[in-house]
């Protein structure tokens, strides 16, 4: 799918790893998923880049955004709820690496 010239790299079912990066600035990727592996639930559109908008710029090019699902028991080693439990986070593509490439390196 494309919008505004930006094509979505990932699709439903893709396994992805959230970049374990800690740059300064206004980031919309919560710390608790950084470095974790999740599954793309769906591509939900392209949106102005919040990391740019935060500094008064126009946020272009727009960035693909995904719902990424993480098993709770992967996020928290001592998770005491059901093994079925998940958290879905909206993650911009620039924060996601394909699992295969990430694991091979």
């Amino acid at each position: 799918m494309t919008a505004a010239g930006v094509s979505a790299r990932f699709t439903e079912g893709d396994r992805v790893r959230v970049r374990a990066a800690y740059p300064p600035g206004h980031m919309r990727t919560p710390f608790f998923i950084r470095g974790h592996v999740g599954t793309v639930i769906r591509f939900v559109g392209t949106y102005a880049n919040p990391e740019e908008l935060a500094y008064g710029r126009d946020g272009k090019p727009k960035q693909p955004l995904y719902w990424v699902s993480f098993p709770q028991s992967d996020l928290w080693q001592d998770y005491s709820g059901s093994p079925k439990d998940t958290t879905i986070v909206d993650v911009f593509e620039s924060w996601l690496d394909p699992l295969d490439a990430g694991e091979a390196s």
Binding site: F32, P50, L65, S80, K84, D85, T86, T87, V89, D90
Partner: protein, 224 residues
């Protein structure tokens, strides 16, 4: 809160010695600390008004409009979804467009609805701030914006749900949605048993704010 009391043999501080009454004055809004953000907000508002970007009246109207939003709009959509499968399908696809169909202005920020089922219980949080579908369910409750809720709902959702009196079976997936970006979320609660034969308005009256955040489920005998 403190119960009314007449005797004053207890030792709490009544503050200002010049204040002759037994209880301290209720602090005025201006008695709290004035933060930099409060000053900046006021300064920017004054500048925008001075530059005729909008008038003081328009600013007041906008604040009044925001404050007037209530869970009633969201509840109406839930009731319609329960009674009209085609509407529900369209709502699951695009809440804003579905809202417009029944005369509700859900704004331009895209809203998505998460359907609770016998297998999945959804709950909404914004761990980074307080993103919330305000146009459909009103202003967020204070606890939704608290650090306690924002950190613990992703860390131990079942414990937080239990504090709201909501026990979810281990057979059911608890699915937390962290609204970190441009979408807003509401939950489509399951229709309570025993609500057969009710018309849409009566069904809407059963739907609570908390059920649309996902911290509660609608009980068969739910009375608002």
């Amino acid at each position: 809160m403190t119960a009314p009391h007449d005797d004053h043999d207890h030792g709490h501080d009544h503050g200002d010695e010049d204040w002759p009454y037994p209880h301290p004055k209720q602090p005025d809004l201006e008695d709290g600390p004035v933060s930099e953000h409060m000053i900046m907000t006021e300064a920017v508002a004054e500048l925008l008004i001075d530059k005729d970007i909008f008038s003081a009246g328009e600013l007041r109207e906008m604040l009044e409009s925001i404050d007037s939003k209530s869970p009633a709009e969201g509840a109406r959509m839930v009731a319609r979804a329960w009674t009209d499968p085609d509407f529900k399908a369209r709502m699951l696809d695009d809440v804003n467009a579905a809202a417009e169909e029944i005369g509700i202005d859900a704004g331009t920020i895209p809203i998505r609805v998460m359907e609770n089922t016998a297998l999945v219980h959804n709950v909404i949080v914004c761990t980074l701030c307080s993103c919330y579908p305000r146009l459909l369910i009103g202003l967020p409750p204070d606890w939704y914006k608290s650090r306690n809720y924002r950190t613990r709902m992703v860390r131990e959702p079942r414990a937080v749900l239990a504090e709201f009196g909501t026990e979810i079976s281990d057979d059911v997936e608890v699915r937390v949605h962290d609204s970190t970006a441009d979408l807003r979320y509401m939950v489509l609660p399951m229709r309570p048993d025993g609500a057969d034969g009710l018309d849409e308005d009566s069904l809407a009256a059963l739907v609570t704010r908390d059920s649309m955040i996902g911290v509660s489920v609608l009980k068969p005998d739910n009375q608002k």
